[in-house]
């Protein structure tokens, strides 16, 4: 794992939060804005280290809350919880399979807003809720599910195009070289 991936994920989170706030087209069409932070968290939890997961949760959550009416830091906790659980179980997840990415994206995108609203209600706040919220939740879940394999593809492409690969050791080792030759054998005898 290298620093490039961490910077790329954080930059993507920053741009994603800005895009969600500045371009409300999806909200006009579907009545809900899709959140890409849980999707990025799925990628980070499956492909990076725990430091990147923590940074994404803290910074991404704070950026989101700074442009929202949420209390600052509220979004960080659900994001980190999702990332932490996926990170701990990632050896058991077929991370290269698009269907697994799709399902994880759906679960993360459904869990993050639900946990945020629960935290708000626990804190005595009054978020805007109603039967329409179910539709918004479905849109966020479906949007996150669809976006996850695309995000994985994008990051893999970026990694190949801009990131450096770890140096691989060649199979050749001088101490295990088998020396052959008629002259040498003759000298030994």
């Amino acid at each position: 794992m290298n620093l490039f991936n961490t910077i790329l994920i954080l930059a993507a989170a920053f741009l994603a939060v800005f895009g969600e706030a500045a371009f409300p087209l999806l909200r006009h069409w579907l009545g809900a804005q899709v959140d890409l932070l849980p999707v990025l968290m799925v990628y980070a939890a499956l492909n990076t280290d725990i430091v990147t997961v923590s940074l994404l949760a803290l910074l991404g959550g704070m950026w989101f809350d700074a442009l929202s009416a949420n209390p600052l830091g509220l979004s960080s906790l659900p994001l980190f919880a999702i990332g932490f659980v996926i990170y701990l179980q990632r050896e058991l997840i077929l991370r290269e399979v698009p269907f697994a990415q799709f399902v994880l994206g759906a679960v993360a995108s459904a869990a993050a807003p639900a946990a945020c609203v629960l935290l708000l209600l626990t804190g005595g706040q009054e978020p805007l809720l109603g039967w329409g919220s179910l539709w918004q939740w479905l849109v966020m879940t479906a949007g996150g599910a669809v976006a996850t394999p695309i995000v994985f593809e994008f990051f893999n492409w970026c990694q190949k195009a801009f990131g450096y690969q770890p140096r691989t050791e060649p199979s050749f080792r001088p101490d295990r070289e088998i020396r052959r030759g008629r002259q040498k054998q003759n000298v030994n005898f």
Partner: protein, 267 residues
């Protein structure tokens, strides 16, 4: 199995979140505005990008069309000047009459134009951010409106930008009066999460007789919004709590989904 670094990460994030939650309100809002100001270069870039097609269209607009538009605007300007002079005379007369019967003198509205920068990315709030802040004299709870009607109020103020909670958000309640013979008064409260054009008018008296299409304006009783700002029109009404009081749905006169410029009203 949790390793040491997992515990460290878990502890660090939880501690950071708890630390932010436990900060005083003032410090949190400053931190929030400071974090939000990281997006300022992107806001500027977006503004420039949006302005480019407008500038390009202006550059290729024929001179004849511009002259025609100038002529129309000059005519409209003269008409508005005459109306303004007439209104000023009426205001003077109104002030004299108010002074005669000992009523408080009405002060004219002072307005400041603001651009809507971003919308709330969370689906469970209804708020926007505008490009006016404390440097422009903004403070909390100032009313925000468009020529069509009321939009909301200023909720928090930063140096160069502010957050406005819109009508329909649970944090924006407005005392409203129905323009009917009884002048029924109620409270504009939260709306549904999907439809931004409808809000609930609650706590109307049980015998309120509302008709579809009747206008709803601010009553001025909450001391935040001056009286007479249009809010919308009654769509329908129903008795609730066994006729204890009446609720009505109000269609807002402003399209909150397409806000680009708003006016902040100074007292």
């Amino acid at each position: 199995m949790l390793k040491k670094k997992h515990y460290l990460a878990l502890g660090a994030v939880t501690l950071a979140a708890l630390l932010i939650f436990s900060l005083p309100q003032r410090a949190t809002s400053r931190l929030k505005l400071a974090t939000g100001s990281l997006f300022l270069p992107l806001f500027g870039l977006l503004n420039t990008a949006q302005q480019l097609p407008v500038d390009a269209a202006n550059a290729v607009m024929p001179r004849r069309a511009l002259l025609r538009e100038i002529g129309e605007l000059q005519g409209e300007n003269q008409q508005l000047r005459i109306q303004s002079a007439q209104t000023a005379a009426m205001a003077r007369e109104n002030d004299q009459l108010r002074a005669l019967i000992g009523w408080q003198r009405q002060t004219p509205w002072k307005l400041k134009l603001a651009n809507v920068i971003v919308r709330d990315p969370a689906n469970w709030w209804r708020s926007v951010q505008i490009d006016l802040g404390s440097r422009d004299g903004l403070r909390e709870n100032l009313p925000v409106l468009t020529p069509d009607g009321l939009v909301g109020r200023v909720a928090s103020v930063g140096y160069a930008r502010s957050q406005v909670v819109l009508l329909g958000d649970p944090n924006c309640r407005v005392s409203a009066r129905v323009e009917n013979p009884a002048h029924d008064i109620g409270v504009i409260g939260a709306s549904g999460p999907l439809d931004t054009s409808l809000v609930e008018l609650t706590y109307l008296s049980g015998n309120a007789d509302l008709k579809s299409g009747e206008g709803v304006v601010t009553s001025g009783e909450g001391e935040i919004f001056p009286p007479g700002i249009p809010i919308g029109q009654v769509v329908d009404s129903r008795a609730v709590e066994f006729g204890l009081y009446t609720e009505a749905r109000v269609k807002l006169s402003t399209n909150l989904g397409a806000l680009e410029q708003v006016w902040v009203l100074f007292p």
